[in-house]
């Protein structure tokens, strides 16, 4: 059921209890988790945080903790399946689900006791009404009772009554069949398309605001959660703009101080500001040239995989009067005279080249002398950390690293605490401080390493897109476009992770739409496959909706993949929380594709 008052029905219920937080591996969930952790720290609510990467891990984590915990909070997972059937919990387990995946499963919506949805009821849901889907069992019982009564009547009248009874029964059965057919249709329409709702981080920020325990850190995390939805193309432009306006109100509320020359805040305090900034990814931490080269929007508009496109880029830079030497060096080292009006200059020139939306509404943060970040920078950095393909790190290690990168302060390690305990008389103070400083690793360093990884990822995406377009790897299969990344492709390991592959997919589709002349192909969705695990022989398959300006981002591949897998009995694993991402055995790839084509044409 939907929760009406998040403070009374959720926060006060868990206030004196122990809670398990099950968190999905995406940035929005990480931000929501950080906000909730901060609230729990305030009120000393004991919790256990378990990162889960798929349905199987969710099940295992639930089994491990169900004996000891009654309350489970699921962040960005669990809304779109019948949770009670999947987990088979005891009657006293209560689940609080804050999930952006839509559509919400109807059982989750109409269960009154165990499932509480931390979702606003008007959040673009269009849930079918109760009577259309659930039929009460009592009606059946009454009918059979009537029939047995009628059966005891004297035989003279029996035949007529029997006929009447038989007619009524046939009538009831027909009505029931009609109702069931209508129910199937309604459910099919409801569950056909998968899309995303309001960011989970924003929901929890609202909870913090209602409790008046919101801080600037929490606001910043909510902004990052929202920006993650936009960067990974999960919400429509309209929704993004509306949500930005909501966040802007909070930002101005937090910035409202009589800040002037005398009463200014310390430079180390966090300042969040609204920016109408350029859509060039990571441009403040990179050189301007590289950023323009590797950002999806500019690269597709210029068609930078062609020679012509690169010439156009040079023209563009010349048109703005930016010398190549300046543009190729690190952004921080560019001349101040160039940096001053950069945004306006770029906007003016890009209008001439057909890029109308080079600027986007977003937020930036500023703390200390060196640290300035835009929200999209944070999203890319944390996503790169979360999915880094280092050999030794498991997925939970990456989760922890990404979680750390979101905090601002210096990290204290256990080693320093241990050292403090072992210190006895006499000890030189200088060596003690040396030890302390050398072992402290700031979370900002982690963020910077994330930014470096994100740069590598973007360069890899750009190169893969260029090679795919130039070698015509994208084939039209009829109802959709298809692309397969071979095993030998450089950086293919990066693309064995779902978020990176989805980003590549969207980038590729955009580039394809700009490069092809076939009008029909421009409206097709894209399915992409990349090798996931060479030893096990699996590939990861992702499907995204067609690219258009007014796209509503609704994805039907979830159901399509399920049906295709069933009909060909391919060995698939639908483990990911987004149903449009699956794992498949390499051998079954062709028959799965054929089934998909037949299904969708």
């Amino acid at each position: 059921m939907f929760i009406a008052d998040i403070r009374k029905d959720f926060y006060e219920v868990v206030a004196n209890q122990r809670v398990v937080l099950l968190v999905a591996p995406d940035i929005d969930a990480l931000c929501a988790c950080k906000i909730l952790q901060a609230l729990f720290h305030c009120d000393q609510i004991q919790y256990t945080l378990v990162p889960v990467t798929g349905w199987q891990e969710l099940g295992t984590a639930f089994l491990e903790h169900k004996e000891q915990f009654r309350y489970f909070v699921l962040i960005n997972c669990g809304a779109n399946v019948d949770l009670l059937e999947m987990l088979q919990p005891d009657d006293d387990s209560i689940f609080f689900i804050c999930d952006t995946h839509r559509p919400v499963d109807v059982v989750n919506v109409y269960n009154d006791t165990q499932i509480k949805l931390l979702i606003k009821q008007d959040d673009d849901l269009s849930v079918p009404s109760y009577d259309d889907i659930f039929r009460d069992e009592d009606e059946e019982g009454e009918d059979s009772g009537n029939e047995s009564d009628e059966g005891s009547e004297p035989s003279g009248k029996r035949r007529r009554f029997d006929e009447g009874a038989v007619e009524r029964r046939i009538e009831r059965q027909r009505a029931k069949r009609e109702w069931e057919a209508r129910r199937r249709e309604i459910l099919f329409d409801y569950e056909q398309y998968e899309y995303h709702g309001t960011s989970a981080a924003m929901m929890f920020f609202e909870l913090a605001w209602v409790l008046t325990k919101d801080t600037k850190d929490m606001l910043w995390w909510a902004i990052i959660g929202l920006t993650d939805q936009w960067v990974h193309d999960k919400i429509t432009n309209m929704k993004y703009v509306t949500d930005i306006a909501t966040m802007q109100r909070h930002v101005s509320r937090h910035n409202h101080r009589n800040e002037d020359e005398e009463n200014s805040l310390s430079i180390d305090c966090m300042r969040i500001s609204f920016e109408y900034d350029l859509r060039l990814t990571l441009y403040q931490h990179w050189s301007l040239y590289e950023s323009i080269y590797n950002s999806c929007y500019t690269s597709c508009s210029f068609k930078l995989w062609t020679l012509n496109g690169q010439k156009k880029l040079q023209e563009f830079l010349a048109d703005m009067g930016l010398p190549l030497k300046q543009v190729r060096q690190k952004f921080n080292s560019m001349d101040m005279s160039i940096k001053e009006n950069l945004r306006d200059v770029i906007e003016e020139s890009s209008n001439k080249y057909g890029m109308k939306d080079i600027r986007i509404q977003t937020f930036g943060v500023h703390f200390g002398f060196k640290n300035r970040f835009l929200a999209s920078d944070m999203v890319h950095a944390t996503a790169a950390l979360l999915e880094s393909a280092e050999k030794d790190d498991s997925e939970t290690d990456n989760f922890i690293k990404a979680l750390d990168a979101l905090s601002r302060c210096a990290k204290e390690t256990k080693f320093t605490l241990q050292r403090l305990n072992l210190l006895t008389f006499p000890l030189k103070m200088s060596s003690f401080f040396f030890l302390l400083f050398s072992l402290c690793r700031s979370n900002i360093d982690r963020l910077h390493s994330g930014i470096a990884l994100a740069k590598k990822k973007l360069i890899a995406i750009q190169q893969t897109v260029a090679s795919c377009i130039c070698t015509n790897l994208i084939l039209s299969q009829g109802p959709f476009l298809y692309c397969y990344l071979m095993e030998g492709t450089p950086d293919v390991k990066l693309f064995s992770k779902p978020m990176a592959l989805t980003l590549l997919c969207k980038y590729l589709l955009k580039a394809f739409v700009h490069s092809t002349r076939n009008k029909r192909c421009k409206l097709l969705p894209l399915v992409m496959a990349a090798p996931k695990d060479v030893e096990k022989g699996t590939v990861i398959v992702v499907g995204i909706p067609p690219e258009s300006e007014t796209s509503d981002k609704k994805n039907f591949f979830g159901r399509a993949f399920e049906k295709a897998a069933e009909s060909t009995s391919s060995r698939t694993l639908h483990d990911h929380f987004d149903t449009s991402i699956i794992e498949l055995k390499t051998e079954d790839r062709s028959k799965f594709l054929d089934a998909l084509i037949t299904l969708l044409s």
Binding site: H41, Y47, L49, Q68, K414, L417, Q418, L422, L427
Partner: protein
């Protein structure tokens, strides 16, 4: 040269700084005591000789040996006392049960001293705070909060808290637990305190 062995003992302790306890150097101690005995014998005989025969020339050597004896005594008592201080610190660091390798480094008398120190500390703690007693070895630094966030660094299995709840400590899970229960595990390296 005299007193060299005593200095060896001191140097050995000085090398192991940071409160670590090296093995009890019985051999070294015995050698020092033997040297002291030898010196004392020689002094005795010389003093008798000086008294009986009035040979004043022996007096400087008697004085020298006496100084050596005093020096040896000072070194040995410093050695023993410093070890006791380290053992005392161990009680505050590790709790009342010492790990086996540390106990191995202590001699029998030191173990006895340790158990008596434990007893007197325990009776002192019981006498504080009314009838309940107060564990003053907890919270050596004033804690900032009752609960701290900890991250599990290795699989430790199940861990029980005061009210009976059992927490499953799996690698990379994070928990928000009462501070006093976590301190032991933080020292052992199973948990890591997360500051955010």
């Amino acid at each position: 040269m005299f007193c060299e062995k005593a200095i060896e003992l001191i140097r050995e302790l000085h090398r192991m700084s940071d409160g670590q306890l090296p093995a009890f150097n019985e051999d070294g101690l015995r050698q020092v005591l033997q040297e002291m005995e030898a010196l004392y014998e020689q002094n005795q005989s010389d003093v008798n000789e000086a008294k009986s025969e009035g040979r004043a020339k022996l007096i400087p050597s008697i004085k020298l040996r006496h100084c050596c004896l005093l020096r040896n005594q000072r070194c040995v008592t410093a050695y023993l006392y410093d070890r006791l201080l380290r053992i005392r610190a161990l009680r505050w660091e590790y709790g009342s049960v010492l790990p086996a390798n540390v106990r191995f480094h202590m001699c029998a008398e030191e173990l006895q001293w340790f158990s008596q120190y434990k007893k007197s500390l325990a009776s002192f703690m019981r006498s504080l705070g009314g009838n309940e007693g107060l564990d003053i070895t907890q919270d050596m630094k004033p804690p900032k909060s009752l609960y701290i966030e900890v991250r599990c660094l290795k699989d430790h299995g199940e861990f029980e808290i005061d009210d009976g709840t059992v927490i499953l400590l799996k690698k990379n899970s994070q928990h928000f637990l009462p501070r006093w229960k976590c301190e032991q595990l933080i020292r052992q390296g199973v948990l890591e305190h997360v500051v955010s």
